[in-house]
């Protein structure tokens, strides 16, 4: 959050208990300590180390990109319909690389979008509860619990999905299909005899996306919570003084202030969902196809990361190149998501700040 420090200095009214609650050390000694550097050697050394670190990350990123491109090129340029290796096993039956990666890109975006639709509102709700509704002690515990969720390995989520959530959702699947089956999202797979069947095993993209939603909760919650806590107390108090209810205060003072933060938190969650591998690979029964159906066994679009994970061990050299090529696509998508996130933040942040400032003037 690049704008958080700016916000912080412009909001001296943040109440101390909020600060403690937010957990983020404001590093009050940071600026004063830098002025009294004990030795020049230390200064130079640390500058060198941090500069090196910055360059290192650039070099690593560039290295990854170059690796992906170099490894992917043979598969991207190969003649898929003629090549004997690409015509067997996991890459069989595709005209070219783009036709192969198309359904995977779609599947990645679709499952992430579903996860976001289910996860983001809950995450923001939790964040609001922690920052504005919960008693302080409850808020602290809840905050820790949500952060703890981030530490659960994805394979554990995968196992939970397989053994618990999959069976748990079966009645819901039946209910949705029997009452809303006319709606394409909840339709079943068309069979040879014209009947429609939904998943018998529960390995639906709905189950997968639900687990993804749980997995992206922590990051969205913790970032949104930080932003909510930084809302200038003056704004909130002013809203309340004008007769606003708690909800109206949140709507008028907190949400507009935190809008760009929520967007970037959501997009960071999206980034997590895009790259998630194990849970999806374990839970969802995948296919390389375009489908929006939520409740089937056979019509769940596969994601890029899961496809690489399940097919890499068996793949031959050129097939591996093809899988790495899809990895390159994921790299590009993640880059685009981050880029869009930054762009949105940059576009909305000054706007939001201006508004809060003008409002502050009004209330003062």
């Amino acid at each position: 959050m690049t704008d958080s420090t700016a916000v912080d200095t412009s909001a001296p009214g943040v109440s101390p208990d909020r600060n403690a609650n937010g957990g983020a050390p404001r590093n009050s000694g940071g600026t004063t300590g830098a002025g009294k550097a004990p030795s020049k050697v230390g200064d130079i050394a640390f500058k060198g180390i941090s500069t090196l670190a910055a360059w290192l990350i650039m070099a690593i990123l560039a290295g990854v990109a170059i690796f992906l491109i170099l490894k992917a090129l043979p598969a991207i340029t190969a003649n898929w319909s003629q090549n004997s290796e690409l015509n067997e096993g996991p890459t069989a039956g595709w005209a070219n690389f783009w036709a192969y990666s198309g359904p995977l890109i779609f599947g990645t975006l679709w499952s992430s979008l579903l996860a976001l639709l289910m996860g983001a509102p809950v995450a923001i709700g939790i964040a609001l509860f922690i920052s504005h509704y919960a008693p302080r002690r409850v808020a602290g515990v809840l905050g820790y619990l949500v952060d703890l969720l981030a530490a659960v390995p994805s394979i554990v989520f995968g196992l939970w999905g397989i053994f618990v959530l999959r069976d748990f959702l079966k009645p819901l699947n039946d209910f949705l299909n029997s009452t809303l089956g006319w709606f394409p999202l909840f339709a079943g797979t068309q069979q040879g005899d014209g009947s429609n069947v939904i998943s018998g095993t529960g390995s639906t993209i709905l189950a997968g996306a639900m687990v993804l939603a749980v997995m992206i909760l922590p990051i969205i919650t913790s970032i949104s919570r930080e932003i909510f806590l930084q809302t200038p107390a003056l704004h909130e108090e002013a809203a309340l003084a004008l007769g606003a209810t708690r909800w109206e205060m949140i709507r008028l003072a907190v949400l507009p202030y935190a809008r760009s933060g929520i967007v970037s938190a959501t997009l960071l969650g999206l980034g997590r969902a895009l790259g998630e591998t194990m849970a999806i690979a374990m839970i969802v029964s995948p296919g390389l196809l375009y489908s929006f159906k939520l409740l089937t066994d056979g019509e769940n679009p596969q994601t890029i990361a899961a496809n690489i994970a399940v097919n890499f061990p068996i793949a031959g050299d050129l097939q591996r190149d093809a899988l790495i090529g899809t990895g390159l696509m994921l790299f590009v998508i993640s880059f685009a998501v981050n880029f869009i996130a930054r762009w949105i933040v940059a576009r909305t942040a000054p706007d939001a700040r201006r508004r809060t400032r003008s409002r502050k003037v009004k209330t003062a």
Partner: protein
Amino acid sequence: MLERQNTVKLTSIAQGAAVVAVAAIALTACSSNNNSSGGATSAATTTAPSVDYSSLSGTITAGGSSAQGNAEAAWITAFQAQAKGVTINYDKSQGSGGGVTNFLNGSYDFAGSDSPLKAEQTTQAATTCAPGGAIDLPIYLDGVALIYNVSGASKLNLSAATIAKIFNLQITDWSDPAITADNGGTALPAGPITTVARSDGSGTTQNFTNFLTGMAASDWPYPAANSWPVEGNVSKQQGGSAVASTVDSTAGAIGYVDHSATNGLKSAKVASVNGIAFTPEAAGASLTDGAVPAPNGVQGDLSLKFDYAKLQASKSAYPIPLVSYAILCTQFKNATQGKLTTAYLGFVASDAGQQVAAKNAGSAPLPAATLSDIQKSLALVK
């Protein structure tokens, strides 16, 4: 205050330095280990089966097929109990493809693979193994089991044609006349069938589709492949154990897994195929009755393929056998390493070794004729 901060910084730097130092020591330890392992001499000069295991020392690096992964783990434990100085690393996370790739670029002493080297890979291996070549030895025998979950059906028999129709979604209900006919006229309770397949590329899928194309070609329009070809109402799961647990928890499901993965099923049961249940004897019979050599041209190679017409003609052979190979060079760059590897594989291809795998990994012991062929091939390895 300032001083305290300083000391804190200093100690943290010291800690960092300590960590680096420890890491460096660990690294050098690793490398020196590797060096010494190669240099250790072995007194074994006789053929593999009569090697004095206690005189061996060194490290074998291998990996590949996950189908033989459990068997390898059992073999390694049993072998290392006798050969205390030997360390064997078998990385089953590589899969057959990764195992072969690592073997071809020279980083493995042997690779585990569910299929023998392809022609172009054999050519490639001639460079890796120069002046020798690569040989494929069938060290692991198992079968692909069909598991089903139909309450009230404690026994089930399916013919190859019926299996093909079920997995190709032509038969979608358990009370279908074709299934009834396979079971001597006893109808199963009606209910929709859910087929469960592998989502990951797999040697199990390869062997199962080999069987379907070989024995039920008229009902199975797809080529044999290591990835599942049917689209539609198919539940695809990652890994054999996931297939087993999914069938186990889904009423009306049927799936295919390595027979060694069928232990611990609660509601699911194993079906007979063409009237033959999977037993170690039946699997052994499929090797003696149905396997034909498919040598790759290198002396000692024991690549084989199954003739499904012969398997079908046999009255005792299990129709969906699964063989997994060890692939190694006939000429090792380092003779000591060659002796070490052949000693280990010699143990694997002994009666004792096969029993260890059967007991711990649920595989079927190889017939004696195959074992003696493997020992002959290992004797050629230098």
